[in-house]
Symmetry: D2
Subunit: 380 residues, 4 copies
Amino acid sequence: MKELRVGIIGYGFMGRTHSNAFRRVNNFFDLEYQPVLKAVCARDAGKAKRFAETWGYQSVETDWRKLIGRDDIDLIDIASPNNTHAEIAIAAAKAGKMILCEKPLALNGPEAEKMVAAVQKAKIPNMVWYNYRRVPAVTMAKQLIDEGRLGRIFHYRAKFLQDWTISADLPQGGTALWRLDAKVAGSGVTGDLLAHCIDTAMWLNGSIDTVTAMTETFIKERKHNLTGKMEKVTIDDASAFLARFSNGSLATFESTRYARGHKALYTLEINGEHASIAWDLHDLHRLQYFDHRDEGKLRGWRSIHVTDSDQPYMKNWWVPGLQIGYEHTFVHQVADFIQGLQDGQMASPTFKDGLATDYVTDAVLASAKSKQWVKVKKVK
Amino acid sequence: MKELRVGIIGYGFMGRTHSNAFRRVNNFFDLEYQPVLKAVCARDAGKAKRFAETWGYQSVETDWRKLIGRDDIDLIDIASPNNTHAEIAIAAAKAGKMILCEKPLALNGPEAEKMVAAVQKAKIPNMVWYNYRRVPAVTMAKQLIDEGRLGRIFHYRAKFLQDWTISADLPQGGTALWRLDAKVAGSGVTGDLLAHCIDTAMWLNGSIDTVTAMTETFIKERKHNLTGKMEKVTIDDASAFLARFSNGSLATFESTRYARGHKALYTLEINGEHASIAWDLHDLHRLQYFDHRDEGKLRGWRSIHVTDSDQPYMKNWWVPGLQIGYEHTFVHQVADFIQGLQDGQMASPTFKDGLATDYVTDAVLASAKSKQWVKVKKVK
Amino acid sequence: MKELRVGIIGYGFMGRTHSNAFRRVNNFFDLEYQPVLKAVCARDAGKAKRFAETWGYQSVETDWRKLIGRDDIDLIDIASPNNTHAEIAIAAAKAGKMILCEKPLALNGPEAEKMVAAVQKAKIPNMVWYNYRRVPAVTMAKQLIDEGRLGRIFHYRAKFLQDWTISADLPQGGTALWRLDAKVAGSGVTGDLLAHCIDTAMWLNGSIDTVTAMTETFIKERKHNLTGKMEKVTIDDASAFLARFSNGSLATFESTRYARGHKALYTLEINGEHASIAWDLHDLHRLQYFDHRDEGKLRGWRSIHVTDSDQPYMKNWWVPGLQIGYEHTFVHQVADFIQGLQDGQMASPTFKDGLATDYVTDAVLASAKSKQWVKVKKVK
Amino acid sequence: MKELRVGIIGYGFMGRTHSNAFRRVNNFFDLEYQPVLKAVCARDAGKAKRFAETWGYQSVETDWRKLIGRDDIDLIDIASPNNTHAEIAIAAAKAGKMILCEKPLALNGPEAEKMVAAVQKAKIPNMVWYNYRRVPAVTMAKQLIDEGRLGRIFHYRAKFLQDWTISADLPQGGTALWRLDAKVAGSGVTGDLLAHCIDTAMWLNGSIDTVTAMTETFIKERKHNLTGKMEKVTIDDASAFLARFSNGSLATFESTRYARGHKALYTLEINGEHASIAWDLHDLHRLQYFDHRDEGKLRGWRSIHVTDSDQPYMKNWWVPGLQIGYEHTFVHQVADFIQGLQDGQMASPTFKDGLATDYVTDAVLASAKSKQWVKVKKVK
């Protein structure tokens, strides 16, 4: 078993999901590499130490440049806030480290372009943690589309609905709530939630050509955790757009943190000439599938409980009918990344794929501002 | 258009469903006969008169014997309480009238046997209002089974759950609540609700051989509407039984009026070698269907929205996707009864079918009392 | 009982739904007026005669001007194609007849303005058949909003998805398929399906200020039933738009006839500060309701089976748990119209409400063409 | 951190679920003990070695008596077939080891009684792996019942439906399919599946007094993996029973491996005076809850997505809306077991609880044979 020595930056929510994936992948997937948790890096040494103890990291760093400089590390995993991704990734690429980067890739397309250039120049394996591609039901949707079962695609629709910021008393900024601060996060729901929808959409249905969008900030001012003062809210609370894909299909996308009753309701639906597919994150094992070629009177939406061994990833887990959860998507991503190393063929989504998504979110934000249809920049 | 002159006995809930069916059937079904509402009969002349005005009955009778004696009536529809069915039906048969009888056919099997003998002797068309056979999704289930799609049947399960008698303050007896009085109703949920489940079950899956049952009366005493006094409750509040069908399949049946959250939840499920079917009354247009012969990874329960023109009865109504409701099952039953007259082939369920169900409910009540498995009497 | 003498124009699908409503309303609703079916008018005398026989119309006309001229008719019901609404309605108004008009009110806003002017000048009762307002679950949504249960509204989303025009072999035009001919229908799904969504939306959530839209015609040419030749398809097959309501909420609307697996899936969802509501036409009795003020750990979407006597319209039908269907929405509309006559307060939606919807569909079509946000004209 | 040194017997499906639980518990739960994987024991040394490598066991044994004899082991985890539980557990108890035992506790009640006696005499912590108690939604059901929210309980119903043995070509016996061999498994679905339903039921609703049951073996002969010959099938393929609980409630229980379309569909429903609860394993995060005390017109079944931090176990995992899976129930069980060690209060279900379930399954099998109601033996 070869070692894949990991240095992670950040110990927040994403630090946990990644760490869990590194630790578990070899229990369930037969691979030639085993992730070894060499170091966690964060500015707060005490918190980093506790994180290292919980997850079994062998050492702690407080300066990410020092982490990147270490010889005993093969792979840098970036799990820190969005505004740190570019600088770290570019330095890590220069140091010849493999890189896994939390999504979105960067604060915007131009920043992401530099990251792509850096990993391409350094010729290093790289990946962005758009984990929802690896929900078994979503991966199976990809298979069905690639097998041509849907035929010509007419419609794509996706939503990502949450409700955790409705209270005007919720503050913004700082460690806990950096996602509400545009300087750190880049944008609000557009980069946080819609980015997921867009990544999956382009994977399943190809590139997006043009968009028209609207965004809204429902609560205009919130107390800022760092300044302690009421400050203007700079992020978008809600974001919706219409789009046209290169394949001629039409799409609607929407995300918000003001949809009562939805905790993390990522939904997608695709309507093709022959068949349709629907899925949602709250019941993530269910793939809804309708096939018009079924016998007439017996046509209906099939609720496929994607837990069988002939369905994506499931032979590695338990037995039919028994579910896995959210965290497993990260395990799958590490498994596929390692398999890619073994096969010499990089697993997606790469930084290039992450850039493509940043181009769409850039176009969405630009359209919301200009109130015009905006053409999406294409990755070269 | 030939006339089918109807005299109805009873103006309660079932009087309304039947009247509506008689009035509407020719708007939607192309038939040679048209029901003509000649008379409604009930003891309370004033209420009967108002009912006649609402539904367009041409006359009112207060003595059912007089109604039966009228020359201008072809068909007697019995919509009065259970303890009146036998006497009226036997007299109507003697008078040579066609008979539609509300379910259950009689208070018990021996009484029902006399009714069957009477209609057979008189050679008159007869039918029992087990209306749920004619929910389009249920009729389609029958088609699928008859086409052999399920293969050998292993399991049948049915429930009929309600929650309207949980309050101890609800009285029993009299006009309004005769269903809670065993003298009038024959039994509680066994004859009222399980009878529906049993009729459908034997239609779909053949005859029942043996049963073991339990019943319970949760509220032991209630005020009686007629005496005004607290009296012992004589009906079963809940009834459940295990059964073996003649085809070797196993079954569970249950009904109660003490299941919080269920208004009229009649559910059934059938598991066959190749396919399974499930249905419930609260979402009556949905037939759930699972077929193991579907391609492996795409197997799932299909939620079939039974509203297409190639699905039972639906070409007579609106367009795909648009629902019909509870009352339409009675319209279908009248349509099929008339079609049977035209074809000279009596539509089911006949009195004989109703007797078969009474034999099962008799066995259930006997088993609950004896605490033994009981063999079900077979209709000759 | 006073008579309300009806003359209907058109015997198609809508002719049937309206006729059924007129015939049934007095069986279930206690009203002072009874619709009397005086005449059906259509160009094809033979078909009109058969329709009259089926539904009990007393006479047949082949010239709508003659129908309007008759003294024995109080109310003109317009159930003919969209391009005939304006001329008929204006003439009927001049003749002092009450008018019920099938939706959409007219081919476009300017035409509808003239209709509104005509009925206002004539001071006659008028209504548009936007029937979905009167699905019990939708009416209950209106009640909940009016009671303030949702609080400030953040989001509205609605879709109307069908799949019946996907085949390129389907022709357009003529009697059967006039909905695919823009000259007769005005537009495609925008006027046919989105109009329903918009009418309900403005009823529930107030007026719409601005929209940005896209439309698409997936099949560019179809054989025309009248010419027998391949002709350019002039309608929109799909239409989607983003909107901002006057109350500050954001919305997405979409309709298409190219969504495999959906027969008539009208869905709507509203997210408010305190509570959310969702509904769809395929399971029309279910109102989904989420209330954040419920105790924390017990919060969940409630699936309310709207069939109880304390829920809209249901005390007039059967008992809890037993469903009604699509056609009943038209019965409710006639009942409310008559109640309005009795109360001297016109039931909605009036022609003015229908005009407001036409203004929105005009804006949607204009935006799709101009690729700009378009301000919606307000009804004065 | 104190060590809890584990020796596991068996490397099959349950060996994996337990091992995963031991390895993960400290990543997510803050505890004073850390399981240390000292040894895996199985007769096949090669397979045991591979299992040890995958899961990180430090050593391998092929004789369980030797494992029990080791000084460096605190806890014996029995994950071997049912017919080995008693002998191993009794020996482990004598050796003073803590014991976790896979369910069912023993082949039958008398055998289980000896196991209970042994652990009581040795005064050692003991637990049975009835993992479904620790699905967050099921644990929450327990909370709601204990808080009195349901009031008097009228009905309990549970099913466990599978479909994996329908093919007559499936062999029985040997390593792979010992569950189909009554000598090794004790019984068929009664001990394998119904045992789960019974354990949960008694935890939620108290003890069961009497039962009447039926069982069936649909496929009478199967090839035996060890003898290579067609042999009589000795297990029950299906098992159903009616029951009365000590609290006066009525119950139906059913399990089968012949229900097409169900992989591992464990469902339960409880109807109380005030509220009802329903749950199923295929969508394990959803607790269905109906409360009659909700405002009348707003009553509905709530679909509670049990993923919030104030819901059982969920604060230890991710964020609201994000699911965990089947395997997490075992992690919870280890966490609770350790918490019990810390608190000096043994976590349930103990061997005594396991014995109570064996008494019920004994009664079910006896009733199916005698065709009589059977009184369930009570644990002293």
